[in-house]
């Protein structure tokens, strides 16, 4: 199995939101809906504050509870990878996957009614391209690649820097990493 991962440098991210706009453009997301978003975390007491920007999206978990909870098989892994997709033609809109996602990363695609989410731009990955958010990042803080290839740029980044992933305690094995 190929594990694709995103590695995002919180030190160079400035929270501009270009990744969000790039995603909306690339994937034709209707107004008011978002597959990715930016979180600003502030820690400490004034004047000793530290700020962290995180561009967040579906974590394309290796143990995705949205896939295990789907009653129709609409939520599935793409081609023996960890990329979690929704087959719109199988989706009943029961919303079990929305409830099953600890990251609240899924949304209802109005007006079609099926469930939508980040796809890691698998249509671009298929052509050897980076996801739209990664390729549009003006500070180059976002990186994308194969996690289980020790020589990939993202594997090397994770070897040389401190990092975290979100809510690993859920057991979902998320694949979006944040360099600290």
């Amino acid at each position: 199995m190929i594990t694709y991962a995103m590695v995002i440098d919180t030190r160079t991210c400035i929270g501009c939101g270009d990744c969000v706009v790039a995603c909306k453009n690339e994937n034709k997301i209707p107004a008011g809906l978002n597959r990715d978003w930016v979180v600003e975390t502030t820690r400490g007491e004034y004047p000793h504050l530290s700020t962290e920007f995180r561009s967040e999206r579906c974590n394309h978990c290796a143990h995705a509870t949205c896939v295990t909870s789907c009653p129709t098989g609409a939520s599935h892994y793409w081609k023996n990878t960890n990329i979690v997709l929704v087959a719109a033609e199988k989706c009943t809109g029961c919303k079990a996957c929305i409830a099953a996602c600890p990251y609240d990363a899924r949304l209802i695609m109005h007006p079609a009614g099926y469930i939508d989410k980040c796809t890691f731009c698998h249509h671009r990955v298929d052509q050897g391209l980076d996801p739209a958010c990664v390729s549009s990042c003006p500070t180059h803080c976002m990186h994308f690649g194969v996690l289980n290839d020790a020589d990939s740029p993202i594997s090397r980044l994770l070897r040389t820097r401190d990092y975290k992933a979100l809510l690993t305690e859920t057991g979902n094995q998320p694949n979006v990493y944040y360099l600290l």
Binding site: P71, A74, G93
Partner: protein, 330 residues
């Protein structure tokens, strides 16, 4: 201090600011599913225990209510689907890890068995309907066969009813992303609540004083067990990890304390417990109010559980975006 704020405009409908994907439709379905399970169990048990004299309503007439009640529940469940035309997709695959998939397939077993259970009691319970059925070819033979097989049918219905009752709880408890639901007690709790509401319905439906008395006594026991299970559920969450502590705080001092205790536990469990005790001691005047309160309590349990589960989450970001701004785009 840690403050986490969304700095881009995320306000996905029914997901932000907190989940509200499931509403009264799911609560009604879970309530009626539990009630159906209870009806199936009591009707099957009355037949197996040969209580045709003592409990004529449960023995002969109760079974017909199960498919009617469940069908209403299935209708509200259908109303909840965002993509209704794809409802057939539940039956183009079986997903062993998805409780909802199990539920969809359990229903395929439940409906025919409920039909057989009804047919096996139709002549005694509803002679008018049986008369209509006898007029169509092979109708009388069908009734004969079902009546002869009444006991084996009941033996099948009983475990399936228990399974259906537990399933309505597991449907929620299997979702680990929602701390308020993530307790194994939810399955048994919903089963006992389903049995309790079915007993309440039997008190209303039964005509003989002896049968009303029997179900009032049964309901008393079931309400007591339900109270114990609710205590265990709260203890389970209250001794859990951070997310579960935050979840249980909603009903133990938090914003939902009043609805949980004053709108559900008091009028839906404690008051009927007292009223049914009065009724059993021969104090009249509460014949209808107690079972109606039990039914109300059964619905409130599902409604509050569905609500609170969606309010409890692993992530909680402050949102700066004002969704009203979107209206300016139009």
């Amino acid at each position: 201090m840690v403050e986490e704020v969304l700095v881009t405009a995320r306000f996905n409908p029914k997901v932000d600011p907190s989940l509200s994907i499931w509403s009264w439709e799911i609560a009604v379905y879970l309530f009626l599913g539990g009630l159906t399970a209870g009806i199936m169990c009591f009707a099957a048990w009355a037949l197996l225990a040969e209580k045709d004299k003592e409990l004529p309503f449960a023995h002969d007439r109760f079974a017909l209510w199960a498919p009617i009640v469940l069908s209403v529940g299935m209708t509200t469940l259908f109303l909840d689907l965002e993509h209704k035309l794809h409802v057939f997709r539940f039956y183009t695959s079986f997903q062993p890890t998805s409780p909802m998939s199990w539920g969809a397939w359990i229903l395929v077993l439940v409906y025919p068995l409920m039909a057989l259970q009804v047919l096996s009691t139709l002549r005694r319970g509803y002679p008018l309907f049986a008369g209509w059925l006898e007029r169509i070819p092979s109708g009388a033979e069908l009734l004969d066969v079902c009546e002869r097989l009444g006991r084996p049918i009941a033996w099948w219905v009983l475990p399936l009813g228990i399974g259906l009752g537990i399933y309505t709880g597991v449907l929620l408890s299997a979702l680990s992303a929602r701390p308020f639901w993530n307790s194994g007690v939810l399955g048994p709790l919903f089963l006992v609540s389903g049995l309790s509401t079915a007993a309440a319905l039997a008190i209303i439906g039964a005509r003989q004083a002896g049968e009303k008395h029997f179900f009032a006594r049964a309901d008393l026991t079931l309400i007591a067990v339900e109270l114990i299970l609710i205590a265990l559920f709260l203890i389970n969450l209250g001794t859990g990890a951070e997310q579960q502590l935050a979840a249980v705080h909603m009903v133990m001092g938090g914003a939902y304390t009043m609805p949980f205790w004053m709108w559900f536990v008091l009028p839906g469990l404690l008051i009927p417990l007292v009223l049914e005790t009065f009724a059993l001691r021969g104090i009249r005047g509460f014949a209808l109010i107690a079972p109606l309160l039990v039914l109300y309590g059964g619905f409130m349990l599902r409604y509050l559980t569905v609500e609170l589960g969606q309010l409890s989450s692993w992530t909680d970001y402050g949102i700066q975006f004002d969704p009203q701004l979107l209206l300016r785009l139009e």
